[in-house]
Amino acid sequence: METRKHLSDAELLQLMLTGDAEALANLYERRQRNIYRFALQMSGSTTIAEDITQEVFLVLIHDGANFDIARGSLNNFLLGVARNHVLRRLQRERFYAPMIETKEHGEHELLPRELTSPGGPLDDLARTETIESVRKAVLALPERYREVVVLCDLQEMSYAETAEILGCAVGTVRSRLHRARALLINKLRPAHEAEPAAADLNSTRCFA
């Protein structure tokens, strides 16, 4: 396995198509994390993420010969397949998806800003809660916005790579990401900041 580390994904795929099981194992080792994480971040379910990972590699086993290197990297191809499977699965299970908890009036949601103010014994707890808040906020995004956040911000892919996976223009990725981030900020903002201060309004009226 060590000797194959220098081989590219495409070369490993060719070996796999000739019946080399070790090549499949190499490809799996290289790419399964990205696919599993993408599916998990998109769905929020480990069961779905496991299914999707398995299905993506089964597609590679059965239809790997259809992969065209000229159209992009194998990683992007696999993520594109994963994306199609995830969207199909989410659409099928829309009515069964667990409800995302929404913040109630007056409930303070942790801002990621708190990550930047270290100090104090509760830092780890705050960090964990913040990560959980961000995770929930990302999962609550509409799918078209969620996928660009997952690919660009969580998987740290470029706009061009994301556009290749989603099959859209780079400009579309940029605009969707901009909109998605604005939605995330709104979701993560504490309730008392999101609504206009009632006290200010009252005093304005009194003095008017």
Binding site: Y36, P112, R113, I131, V149, D153, I185
Partner: protein, 263 residues
């Protein structure tokens, strides 16, 4: 720089991406002059920190090892299938097609014979509708049309395929003011259901007879093979893309109690 221009590059600023030095300096000056844009940039930067923390948190996450094993097994199985000589595969296909054609021909002949024979037969006036609701087994029978999707039946009293009985409304036509009746359907069985082969009901999880006393329903579904795997049944992963018909026995609480597979 105005607020609109600032808004256009705020993502790149917050995500620490490469932008022109001039644009960065102008944006810096703009945030000093415009408090709203300064707050907006601070929010964006906080969000970036949060997303980075989430990404870092999931850095070590990976798929369970069993998936790799299953994939390698499927891969090996596929290789074995591919080793079958092409000519031999054609002969298998030919044999299967011949069997299928023979079955179809026999089915057509049997259907013709049944329909002709029954139309000639004179049968006594129909029994009251209530008597048709039960069969000799004495089990309650409430199945609706067997061919339609989303049909529901009441729960059988035992978890066997024979316990689930079907009633199909054969078309009854009266002649001479109810004196003569001809029945179009021979055995009150829909063709689609008559051709079905079903396994016994297999319990999903813990099932006892008391859990079915409150009633329930049998629901026809189509399942993906991955779902069947998640229930703990072994499937042929080489045909992973195909869906499988099944009847799911639902308890009164809406939980699946048992399943049987239908072909």
């Amino acid at each position: 720089m105005n607020c609109q221009t600032f808004e256009n590059i705020i993502d790149s600023l917050a995500r620490e991406q490469l932008i022109e030095t001039n644009a960065r300096q102008e944006a810096q000056r703009h945030t000093e002059e415009c408090p709203e844009c300064a707050v907006r940039l601070a929010d964006e930067r906080s969000l970036t920190v949060g997303l980075q923390a989430l990404a870092q948190d999931m850095q070590t996450v990976e798929a369970p090892a069993r998936i790799q094993k299953e994939l390698l097994a499927a891969f090996q199985q596929r290789q074995v299938v591919q080793l079958v000589p092409r000519a031999r595969r054609w002969s298998y296909l030919g044999a299967a097609a011949a069997v299928l054609l023979m079955g179809f021909a026999i089915g057509i002949a049997a259907w013709n014979w049944n329909s002709n024979g029954v139309q000639r037969a004179e049968i006594p006036p129909p029994t009251p509708a209530r008597s048709a609701e039960t069969q000799s087994s004495g089990l309650p029978v409430t199945a609706t049309d067997g061919g339609s999707k989303g049909k529901r039946e009441t729960a059988p009293s035992a978890l066997t395929s024979s316990a689930v009985t079907h009633r199909h409304s054969g078309t009854v036509r009266r002649r001479n003011a109810g004196q003569t009746t001809s029945v179009r359907a021979a055995n009150n069985l829909d063709n689609s259901t008559a051709n079905e082969v079903a396994t016994d009901f297999m319990p999903i999880g813990y099932v006892n007879s008391q859990s079915l006393q409150d009633g329930g329903s049998v629901v026809r579904v189509e399942l993906s093979r991955s779902t069947i795997v998640s229930m703990g049944f072994a499937v042929n992963m080489d045909r992973y893309g195909e869906r499988v018909k099944a009847d799911v026995l639902m308890g009164a609480d809406g939980l699946a109690r048992a399943i049987r597979f239908v072909q």
